[in-house]
Amino acid sequence: MTRTVETWTPSVCGFCSVGCGVEIGSSGGEIVAVRGRKSYPVNRGRLGPKGLNQFYANRHPTRALYPMIRNRSGKLVRATWDEAMTAIADKFNETLITEGPDGVAFYNSGQLLLEEYYTLAKIARGGFGTTNIDANTRLCTATTAASLMESFGADGPPGAFEDFERTECIVLVGHNAAEQSTVLWMRILAAKNGKMKPKVIVIDPRRTFTVETGADLHLQLRPGTNIALLNGICNLLIRNNWIDQKFIRRHTVDFDQFRETVSQYPPALVERITGVPQARLRQAAEWIGRSKTTVTTCLQGVYQSNQATATACTVNSMHLIMGKIGKPGCAPFQFAGQPSSMNTRECGADGTYPAYRNWEDVDHMRDLAVRWNVPVELLGKKPVSAPEIFELVEKGFVKVLWVTGTNPAASMTDRMQQIRGLAGVFLIVQDSFVDTETAQFADVILPAAMWGEKTGCMTNAERRCSLLMKAVEPPGEARSDFDIFVDFAWRMNLRDKAGEPLIQYTDPEGAFNEWRENSRGTIPDYSGMTYAKLVERGGIQWPCNDDHPDGTTRLYEEAVFPTPWQISEVYEKDLETGHEHTQREYRQKRSARGRAILIAAEFREPAEPPDREYPFTAISGRQVYHWHTRTKTMKSPVLASAAPGVFVSINKADAKRLGINDGDIVRVTSRRACVEAPARVGNLVPRKTVFVPFHYGRLDRNESANNLMAKSHDAVSKQPVQKSAAVRVEKVRSADGRTWW
């Protein structure tokens, strides 16, 4: 029975990085409905199935209602906030004294609020100087940031969503938009019936729902061969002179090197490597090259694949050689994954420093130290990535791990090995639910408020910052992540150089105001935003400052890029080793002087190619009805019944050879572990490939795609390779005609 809504509160959807405007309907202190905000420019009332059904999680019986501490018999029992926070502060202090800052680590999320990331980053980096802080954005958009830094000098997606409606050609590389970014896909489909009628090219090993519902051309390549395909397209663009020589000359460097690399990928070779017919490759290059405007997106099919950063950089380069950047309808759109993954990157709660400051540049660190009033000598530490943090946990270097709003026991690759680490470390889990796989290994559980129960900002993939208003009180004794971090800083007695508390603000608006000042004059400049202005405007794209009080639709309109060493966020890394130039090397290598860097790379085989023992390649991906490890979506009856379980997609030719019928239970085994699930037999995946959705990970079942994947990652972005493992497939038992689909 539907309850009558008493109050509608403006907010933003808490799932993907499109960041749709929503209104939260509440009644009697509970959220009872969600609807799209018709006035919000991103979605204009549209919402996808997850957005519409997200509120069921808020009132689910598995919500964490009070703190819990693991007792001597290994059970998690109820505790007071004071007991839990004292236990944490004691453990932190003891570890910091005996081990130093290497002994503690924070692993946070892409679903918190800007103010929470900023506070956490300030505590960790400015408070007690650990560099072991990263977010689960390492698993989704670390490559976004890495590629933007390599090509343009700093993070910051150049385009805007309106570019999709103002373009003649859209290229989706490893981006299953119809299942990941439903509202963006709706906008694209609307545009296809509109004035521009863009051609849509999809590059994906699977025949996805995106291909089915709106692609004009599908390049179904072999897993792990993105870079060969893109090199082939760039080669054709150059050979056919579908490039902008003037733009290249004025605004880029290293064109000769780029041309030399991609010229080694003629269509015939590309077909041999990727399996994509030459005619299709030529068609794609022609559509891209002949269109006046092009938008290209990348997502996990790039970021979680072989040569992730190199591929994303090649997409950036493809746009640069055509001069298709900084103009309406033109953008290399390196996508974000989660609703606030942009914020964790901006605020320094991942492997970066706040406001895109370069950790190697003493002047950047001095500027930050002045604003935080902390010793500059303690800043400027080389960031450590999540895969490194988990290795440090597994090997015993990290003694205390604080996990906030994420579920690594289900989401990390080589999962069974990772779980051993979680079972050994002192684990603090700050989450809205007690039933996550990670919470089951907690020593302390801190109940956190979730979406709709707290106030703060999120910034979407087009740099649009919006204010989410609290609609209802959190249940039980749950507190906002912000309040928990502030309490922790107070208990740790963290102080600035003047002896004042390091965290002096007490509410999210105070944190936002400090962040605005911290970002003033930097690339992600929020200084012109206020809570009042965000309420009034309903979302503003950064940079927003005195020069751009209404925000900025797209970056690089003047084609001037932050590559000079004084402002660059990074000094260019080696695509194969991840090693970064020293400041002196970077200055001596070239003088980019505001020009973008054209990057190309040779194709390299995936780290774990199939062989006789493991002849298939397993890839993973998402389903439209679930988000990540289903922490929230499994709590919605609609979403849970729409996608109730894991399966293995297999090509029907392979299935026939192995005697597998639709629905039969199969075992997929890698060098690490296995998955057992019903087979979906069809033509959606190429031969010798199986697909497993990555959402499932119950501890008592072999159902996690991450069981299969190796602990390998991209050298630059350190993003784990979750889309490629060598496996073998065998039938376990017959379904006898019973399936859930």
Binding site: N93, W185, L189, D435, N493, Y625
Partner: protein, 321 residues
């Protein structure tokens, strides 16, 4: 021993901690400032790694001691003050005079720091002593690195620094030139070739011994897969792994400890001490009403409408899985 509201160690120990440690914090901060002043000027990327490692090690010591002071309810020293300015000037001038002079200047300061740690470590108890012992070890390792590099560059076999090393110089350096391993900060001999990468790439060097140790550290599944890799790909994977934080930390706690003649402080791998405990309530979930899921009238085009209809018709979507 805790933050506010937690139990505290005895007052005497805490007062002592503050009195003893703040001068050391002050000195470590000052030397960090001096390092920051010379890093941008250093031409040899290998020595940039030496300087960065020294800085990171000092930062860890400061953070560790600051926590001890903070739990005593006292404000730790927050700057290197006049000493920092003096050391910055001294190290910049020494840098201009050459790398050897810079290393000698740093070693002088480091030797003083090691002496100070050695004087206070016995005056502390419990975890404070454990902590300071760790700081002291870090300082000894830094001193050994500087000593070894000076001994090598100093030329003469009777140079003071060479005599001060716990091992013969050829255990630290397999070659005569100025190459510095980015992992262990020496250039130790081993079975595999050293790896060097430069030209158009950022310069990196991994010594033979580190090459051996990193290869041996690949987990079994990756080691198995690596049989498919080309020599070039294998070398790139080795370099990437060698430069990661876990590998460098392992080198610091095992290799540098051994080369500095201090006992290794490598932690044992943690044993899984917890079983999964599901704290979720066992009661059944109450049946929720089936919510409205249609989006009629919002779509801007027939194509969008067709997609939206399919999106809320699960069978259509499932046929694409």
């Amino acid at each position: 021993m805790a933050g506010r509201g937690g139990k505290r160690a005895e007052v005497r120990q805490e007062c002592l901690t503050h009195t003893l440690l703040n001068p050391l914090v002050h000195r470590e901060l000052a030397t960090i400032g001096a390092i920051d002043a010379v890093i941008p000027r250093e031409k040899n990327p290998g020595y940039v790694m030496v300087l960065r490692a020294a800085k990171a090690s000092k930062q860890a010591n400061v953070e560790q001691m600051s926590t001890m002071i903070r739990v005593a309810g006292v404000q730790p020293s927050e700057s290197g003050g006049a000493l920092e300015s003096m050391l910055q000037l001294q190290s910049s001038m020494a840098r201009r005079a050459g790398t050897l002079m810079m290393l000698r200047a740093m070693r002088l300061a480091e030797a003083e720091i090691v002496r100070e740690y050695s004087e206070i470590v016995d005056r502390l108890d419990g975890i404070f002593r454990t902590g300071i012992d760790k700081c002291w070890r870090r300082a000894i390792k830094r001193l050994t690195i500087l000593t070894a590099h000076i001994a090598k560059r100093g030329g003469r076999p009777d140079v003071e620094e060479r005599l001060a090393l716990p091992m013969p110089l050829n255990r630290y350096f397999a070659h005569d030139d100025d190459r510095v391993c980015f992992r262990c900060l020496f250039d130790r001999p081993g079975h595999h070739n050293p790896l060097e990468r430069g030209n158009d790439h950022p310069y990196v060097y991994l010594c033979s011994a580190c090459h051996d140790e990193v290869l041996a550290d690949f987990p079994p599944d990756i080691a198995e897969a690596s049989k498919h890799w080309s020599d070039h790909d294998l070398e790139m994977h080795v370099l990437e792994k060698a430069l990661g934080r876990p590998s460098k930390l392992k080198a610091e706690l095992l290799v540098l400890a051994k080369m500095s003649d201090v006992s290794p402080d490598m932690p044992p791998p943690p044993l899984p001490r917890k079983a999964a405990f599901d704290a979720a309530p066992k009661r059944r979930t109450t049946a929720e009403p089936r919510p409205r899921t249609e989006l009629g009238g919002i779509a801007d085009s027939p194509l969008e409408q067709a997609y939206t209809d399919a999106l809320f018709d699960y069978d259509t979507v499932r046929s694409n899985w």
